[in-house]
Symmetry: D3
């Protein structure tokens, strides 16, 4: 008998029951204000992952050694951010209820809000570690408060001052940089201060949500994103930063803002896949 | 003294006061369910129009002979369809109040709803002539009732049975084709029946809103659109159909669904520009 | 509990047991002599099919009404044509043994040979109806006898004179055209003669293998193929020809030579999906 | 001993001495006012011609049966039209002196002027048959009289009234259409009138320069050109028109305005190659 | 009343009178010898600048705090370098007469000559600081002395020895490197020596024309240029070098050689926009 | 008399007799398992090399000072690896017999095996220096032992332990890394250890085959390759490593895995050309 065609991220072939980590895709980009296309990110990563090895020479670990279930992409409504966020949050809650690690693949960065709502409900003392080129701290964007440009501001409303740790930020309105100076733990332009931050959070055993906007990477190696910002971190710096964060108590995570059609060479997708492989290997217990 | 850089569609350089036709762009595509990018349509048309002549050998008329004002693109909110529609409708109302012809450049097809709301308020006996590959008659799309896939259904709720005349439709759910059979004047696959329809509407001097989804064209000549459907009409068939419709009492119009980034050759944008030139020359009194 | 991510061509969600038609993908293009990339054809069709409706207004039928199982892509060896053909043939045999209709998605045209070997073993009096821009009748191509350019010649060796019916052919060496004149039922440039051919085969109730090289289409609507040949048939002509062939006793089929990366607009893939939908609806009993 | 790498258009491997037709490339596009890139046309045709067969089923002739020498591309100065034209003219004169047929590959359409200067010097009663989307009859373009947009106007200054026969023209300023009405034999939009024109010229045995701007083709099949104009002729119509013209006394020719980078699918280049093959086979004695 | 559509680089919305800096675009690339397309640079920067923030975290300054007028693109003749240069020079002179800072957006690098002619007329002791991958010191290029490859050589003829300071140069003929060794202040491959050079020029209060060929950047982050040269400087190195130069008495400047169509990802244009923002903020008093 | 069109890599215009180095192209990629297109690498390098200077400021040497013959591309069979390898090996043998340096342009990496077979026959104590992102040490790939993924494993069978020196490797199966640890001189991730390795080989005057898989470069500067791997070396690091290796007794070399169509910007091809120029200048005696 011939089996149906199951498509997962490479090496993520566990059943839901066996898995300790669950991937879920949120192909949503309705609030993207510049170049859309992040909706195609998770499917592209799944599809192109077959150009990737499951083995990481950086960590000397293999995806075949860990247990990950890939639940595919949610079918989300375009045109209503609240409906889309609600569906994403529900999926995150299902995963958390089963005591598994939810790893969200965006989509635009707004999808993070849905996951944070779910994770913060389970872990009220949640902190966020945020890698991004953009501060994402606007109060609204052309009237919309549910916007990729506001997502960390909405998270701040949930979590309060000093619980959001931002790194690599190199773009935003002056107002956002001022807000950050007062309300978040803000590390512009690079990963300076990350080791110390993680050490402290680890000592307190604080639960951490880890959100990676892939545009923290320099557009040289990651052009396939809606709002590329020159002056970013290198791929190897990002890998090291991920391994640093993974030493702490990470309880949920996401990787977002790959817009594969914007980089016809396929390098951005290949790089996103490798980031995800390294993240999975770093957080798997 | 050096003047600022005013950018209009070629040959549309009248002031608002002088103009009989007013172009307004709605760069919105938040509900696009497949490939986004129609938001870039109106700016691309304006920008690429400089590869076009103002003179039409088909009609032996020149844009320099008529009076068109190009008001540029509205700044619309991504992520809230109702807010975007409201801003578009307001602009259409301003133009109608000044007794000028509103010509909307989309964006995705949902923007038509805003214009139809404004035009139907002024002309309660409004009919719609609709050129499209898709019926756009769904009641909702994944829960959203404000969606490009539902826009003619929403128009039907405004206008009622027998007031919507659809041509070239070659894609939709079975349910939409059934709805059309009962509620609209439905002409699938081609322009068959257009001349007769227009003659009747003209005899009754009915006010007409004319909406052109450019994907009615065959993707051979118009690949730059979100959901291309093979088997469409030719460019010359569309030009002739436009001149046919223009003989009736057209009181508002739109041209939409150019997604310029999807056709790197630029042919789709050039073709859209020529459609707009021919439409302007045909409707100008 | 969350289910794994099953990816099929749209509307092809039957189980193997229930299905009367079985799709199987052969992502192989190692012998392509000009522009490779047909290996990505079947996955692209599966993935992009979600921009397609399941309902056909041409046939007033819906994929939801028929039973198709999509077995996904085979994992084939690049660099050994014989090994790849062997794996494809084995899959075709499995499907035929279960008395289901095998519908192969290529890949380059050489993959047809594997399916024909399997089908001819079951139906010794098999005929082939062949739509293509190229005759594919070379005896060898730079020494290789297993080559996309030789595939119908190899089929001729299996079936003999007068059993291969070729349509739309508009490219080849002089030698191939001479061979065709003597050994195949040859209809260059168009579908002229197709109705008559089908009527005769139907009358004799001959079993038919139906192979569609998508480059029979004009490159205007189907640029995404390795060796595009201007002067092809239109999409609507192809649809009509498919429905004509489907009236006879078709016992196996394939659709091949979509190279999706060569057409960044996505139109070629969308068109290929529609051809497959129409073919499925036409052959389903 | 190993031979150097000679690159010619496929099947054009005669020596200069043996050849009756000589190809020469003019990779120039400095006056292109919209999208440049025609400079890459002749090299792309030469390079991509290896995806083409040497045999034409349309004419049942083969390039291997005729004698064509490909002299490659001239090395032309960008930034001085007069210097570039002078170099092209010199090459045309060399070919004419050797009593061979000069077949120029552009480049932008301005290059035709250089060839016409050379050919008209040898044949003072020269006529021109001109296939194009554009009239190219401006007196100047932003001050430049040597411009692709003026090339037929410059030819008219050389040859005078009634000696230029224009077909398929569908774009230009009103002024150009007026000029044409008075001074050229003008056939807008299609090949209507071509057979009669050729019959008359043939009866008088008039020497003809035949210039094909490939943008006469519809952009559906030929998007790779600087100023695509929807509403053009089909590939098969062009082939037939070429065979018609070839019946008369053609003494020089060119094929121009392929801008290969504008059509990443490669279809435009493949189509241009086929046009050249058919032209060579039609004019070869 | 509805206002016309004024398009400027983001945040450059002053009137001419109020502005201290005036942007002017020169969409010219007729002498480009390899890949053309720099003509589209200034319009692309203006258009894509809306993906950029007006605030710079690098300088903690905002475009909203300074006064810049964007005069749009000149309409230049293709095919006559002297006519184009003359029009550019005239515009530069107008700006200088009004005692404003002229900031030219190219176009190919030849346009710099026009600006230098104007600026040197006002400031006879002018020096040039030149960032580029190429020396641009040829005496002629295939006979043309007005060529992008000769522009600094022409400037040298105006200014004489020791007044041109070149940085990052990594490509040229041997002859150009020899010329540079004797006649210019030459710093190949990097910005080594820039601080010292600027300190000296500042001490003497020498007026400086600052010309940035964006291909000084590594093609990793700036592929969208006609002749990319691996081994360039990073974006952050360029920003720092710009701030260094801005400390001296800069009286005119340009940014050139963005060819946006060559980088479909949009990263090159986004990077060029950011370079311009940082340059504006650095030179604004 | 007009000469035929000889196309070589820039500055490589010696005759075979005069030359000390002979370029030969192997346009083969039939075993590429992910994205094909390396077959187009050598022709693209030859063609695009005219955007390159012959002079290297890095080495202060010029291609015009050395003697290189470019024999063009072999015509290889797609679909039979053994036939293709045999033709490549034969060409390498011809070059070696004439006591010239064979410099192979791939093509996929499998082509190296053919050259190594020829070179090892002449120099039985051959060592290999291998720059690559991938270990290429699999025993088979989906059953094929002649595969790009196995090429160094096949070379190891020819040469034995300790004779293969691998650098920059950052991708492979765990098994390949284990094999390398036991059987090759393995330097993952960077060029660490290269100087020492070369010094030792130079002291022993060991003959060296030098194979450069261009994907050792970071995809930021070299996206145009089938399997890009983030985290690679920079262009300047590669240049320095090449000059280091060239100090030893290099007797054959290759540059491979450029897939030019995957990088529409042309940067990858331009970079490959520069790598080849620097390699030629470094190894020329």
């Amino acid at each position: 008998m011939i089996l149906p065609n199951i498509e997962t991220f490479i090496g993520c072939e566990s059943s839901f029951e066996e898995a300790s980590i669950v991937l879920y895709g949120a192909p949503f980009d309705s609030t993207t204000s510049f170049r859309p296309g992040a909706r195609f990110g998770p499917a592209a990563m799944r599809h192109e992952s077959f150009g990737l090895e499951t083995y990481s020479p950086y960590q000397d670990r293999d995806l075949m050694d860990i247990s990950v279930f890939d639940s595919g992409d949610l079918e989300l409504c375009f045109g209503s951010s609240e409906m889309a966020l609600s569906d994403i949050q529900k999926r995150a809650e299902e995963i958390l209820e089963a005591d598994k690690f939810p790893l969200l693949l965006g989509g635009e960065h707004l999808v993070t809000l849905a996951a944070v709502r779910a994770v913060a409900a389970k872990y009220p003392d949640l902190h966020i570690i945020h890698f991004d080129a953009h501060a994402d701290l606007r109060d609204d964007y052309l009237g919309a408060r549910l916007s990729h440009a506001c997502v960390l501001r909405r998270c701040h409303e949930l979590l309060g001052d000093g619980r959001i740790h931002q790194f690599c930020i190199r773009s935003g309105e002056r107002e956002e940089f001022r807000f950050a100076a007062q309300h978040t733990d803000f590390h512009p332009l690079s990963f300076d201060g990350l080791e110390e931050t993680v050490r402290e959070l680890k000592e307190k055993n604080v639960p951490i949500y880890f959100t990676i906007d892939l545009d923290c990477l320099d557009p040289a190696v990651f052009p396939g994103t809606g709002t590329p910002e020159a002056g970013g971190v290198t791929f190897l710096e990002l890998l090291e930063a991920i391994r640093t964060v993974a030493q702490a108590n990470v309880v949920g995570a996401d990787v977002n803002e790959l817009a594969p059609m914007l980089d016809a060479s396929g390098v951005s997708t290949a790089t996103a896949c490798k980031v995800l492989r390294e993240l999975l290997l770093a957080i798997a217990k």
